[in-house]
């Protein structure tokens, strides 16, 4: 039994408004109203008679030195969870979304329990309810961080928003009343914000930034990068700075931040760069007659990266096929486009765009006139004579429709000559040639390169060199 000393006068009456609540199914908190005549020293003794289940009558004994009265007060206990605490409430203004995190205080209970949460969104100065959402979770005997987000249909900047949550524990074996916890303290999204958020602007722009803070807070200073700017006071809860002629930012952007009393720091980031340059040296050629490879030079760097980088789209007109292309800053700027049967002429347009602008280049080609063969591979030389040599090499690709021109270079210690050989194209094929007028027992180095014969565009690279010694005469 627990003894509680309360002053009571007159003949002791039954304590009023007697109730017992538990927050954790472990400890019971009982309270009652001492009667108005309670001005003589009375000691209350509270004894809990444990019946089979948790639901038991609780007695309060009121008595003093000479009188003792036993009151049997049956009270239905109530399970009322502790008031939850919101850990963090932040707002993504670009997507009108509130992000809420809170601690479910699962460690208060020793076993798993079903918990229900109510999340109430209110807005405007009058704190009208926007929505009330029920969210269920399971308490696991340890504290867990719960997340939730809500998207408004109007921009979050338009008015003030407030969030509060409460909890209900559905303990099946608790036969007393189960009630919702108190509502958590109301929270508003981090109300210290700097605008604009994550804006992208051209180099040389003039930009004004404002820092919004709770009434009663004050700004020590506002900086753009490492430079402090004179504060322009807009209202009791906002100040601004004007930054002229901004220069290109580093990849993660230039921070704009306001330092608040006592030592809070809030900020935003400005991404300063250039619109995409017109893609330069746009070149489209085929290596195999299976795909056409277009490559280009991006021109001036934009100083913008990731989701702000320049995106390229290559399409062929008449908009036969738009081939979205993802390039990353470190890769070479190139893109493959399929060769279509019976199509000779291709009118390419390469579009370059980023948040600051768009540019494009075009190129019209006849694919037959843009053949740039791969390097001859598996190059072999052999002879069974003193004056001839047989050469063989492999070139990937489908050149059935065209003739090839191959150049064979024959060199030895004191001379070098080149031999041009024309031959029918084939598909993924080996090609052969032979060379005569060699000196007996002479040591020569051979290599080969090829190109389209009818419309010369580019030589392939040279094959690797191969040495050969002719037989003695």
């Amino acid at each position: 039994c627990n003894y509680v000393d309360v002053a009571v006068s007159g003949f002791p009456e039954a304590p009023g408004n007697w109730k017992c609540i538990t927050h954790d199914l472990n400890r019971m908190i009982c309270s009652w109203d001492a009667t108005s005549s309670a001005n003589r020293g009375l000691t209350y003794k509270i004894c809990q008679f444990r019946a089979a289940a948790i639901k038991t009558p609780v007695s309060a004994v009121a008595g003093n030195d000479f009188e003792c009265m036993l009151f049997f007060l049956v009270s239905f206990q109530a399970l009322i969870p502790l008031t939850p605490q919101i850990l963090n409430l932040s707002a993504d203004f670009s997507t009108y979304t509130l992000y809420l995190t809170w601690n479910d205080s699962g460690s208060v209970f020793q076993h798993e329990l079903d918990a229900s949460w109510q999340i109430q969104i209110l807005y405007k100065e009058t704190m009208e309810t926007v929505t009330l959402i029920n969210y269920d979770s399971k308490l696991t005997g340890k504290d867990s961080i719960l997340f939730w987000n809500w998207t408004s249909d109007i921009p979050l900047e338009c008015t003030s928003y407030y969030v509060k949550i409460r909890c209900y524990i559905n303990e099946l074996y608790f036969t007393g009343r189960k009630e919702w916890s108190e509502w958590s303290p109301v929270r508003t999204p981090n109300s210290v914000m700097v605008f604009p958020q994550d804006k992208v602007v051209l180099v040389g722009s003039n930009v004004t930034f404002c820092c919004l803070y709770n009434e009663g807070k004050s700004v020590k200073f506002m900086k753009y990068g490492s430079e402090s700017y004179p504060l322009l006071r807009l209202s009791k809860w906002s100040s601004a700075i004007k930054v002229q002629n901004v220069s290109a930012s580093v990849p993660s952007g230039t921070n704009v931040w306001c330092s608040l009393v006592p030592d809070d720091v809030e900020g935003t980031v400005l991404f300063v760069g250039y619109a995409p340059d017109t893609p330069q040296n746009l070149n489209c050629e085929t290596r195999t007659f299976i795909t056409i490879t277009c490559s280009w030079n991006p021109g001036r760097p934009t100083a913008l990266y990731s989701k702000r980088r320049t995106k390229y789209i290559l399409f062929e007109s008449p908009k036969y096929m738009e081939l979205p292309l993802k390039t990353t800053p470190t890769s070479k700027h190139a893109c493959d486009f399929p060769v279509h049967a019976n199509q000779k002429i291709y009118n390419f347009t390469l579009s370059a765009s980023n948040p600051l602008g768009q540019a494009e280049s075009s190129l019209l080609i006849d694919v037959n006139q843009r053949v740039h063969l791969e390097t001859p591979d598996k190059f072999t030389v052999s002879t069974n004579s003193s004056t001839h040599a047989h050469l063989s090499w492999y070139i990937p690709g489908n050149f059935i429709k065209i003739r090839l021109l191959c150049q064979i270079e024959i060199s030895n210690s004191n001379s070098e000559r080149q031999l041009n050989v024309s031959m029918a194209g084939a598909e993924n094929s080996n090609y052969r040639a032979w060379v005569d007028a060699l000196h007996p027992y002479g040591t020569y180095t051979f290599r080969v390169r090829c190109s389209a014969s009818e419309y010369f565009w580019k030589w392939s690279k040279w094959s690797e060199g191969k040495k050969l010694t002719t037989l003695e005469a």
């Binding site: 993504d92 995190t101 930012s249 580093v250 990849p251 952007g253 921070n255 980031v269 990731s306």
Partner: protein, 198 residues
């Protein structure tokens, strides 16, 4: 000290490791904390270098912010010293099982904000690996000492950062907490080493 005796008695009953092996494991783990302490300071320096002012200025010391899921190491020294060896190990394991997830979130954000900062990305990946390694060692010691470990963590930085600045700020707090926990674990294992000499 009492808890040392209790731990020792429970250790011999609950695991097959001899005291020699426990002491060896503690020494190895202490060495790992030396590496982690050095790397965590390097990581914080590399991180702020890529975020621009104010992060990169030496006197930038914003108030510590609780990162959901990550216990705070700012328990004052006295109460921290007063904890039992088991309770200290419990806190360390709770932190080091949470940190890899948080460092992973920071890596994803930095891959977006600083795509060219390959050294920063490499250090964030290494830090997460080291934290997993240290957590494993600490759990091994706790098992050897018969101390129950903390529950598995739920560790991520919550929803996508609502802005680039908040992404930079939350990454900064994770890297700073990683450095603070590295210093604390180094101290704690140093203390444990004195109690379990080889």
């Amino acid at each position: 000290p009492v808890d040392h005796a209790n731990l020792l008695s429970s250790a011999s009953s609950s695991s097959s490791l001899s005291q020699q092996e426990v002491a060896t494991k503690i020494k190895q783990t202490h060495r790992l904390t030396v590496l982690l302490k050095h790397c965590s300071e390097q990581l914080l320096a590399e991180y702020v270098r890529h975020q621009g002012e104010p992060f990169s200025s030496p006197d930038f010391q914003p108030p510590a912010v609780a990162v959901p899921g990550l216990p705070s190491p700012s328990v004052p020294p006295e109460p921290w010293q007063a904890l039992s060896d088991g309770k200290r190990l419990w806190h360390l394991v709770a932190a080091y099982t949470t940190l890899p997830g948080l460092l992973g979130s920071v890596l994803r954000q930095q891959a977006e904000l600083n795509p060219l900062a390959s050294e920063l990305h490499r250090q964030l990946e290494a830090a997460a690996r080291q934290c997993r390694g240290l957590a494993g060692n600490l759990e091994g010691i706790m098992g050897a000492l018969g101390v129950p470990g903390p529950p598995p963590p739920s560790s991520s930085l919550g929803g996508p950062p609502p802005s680039a600045f908040l992404a930079k700020m939350s990454g900064y707090h994770v890297c700073r907490l990683h450095r603070d926990w590295a210093m604390r674990s180094h101290e704690a294992l140093g203390l444990l080493r004195t109690k379990y000499p080889l």
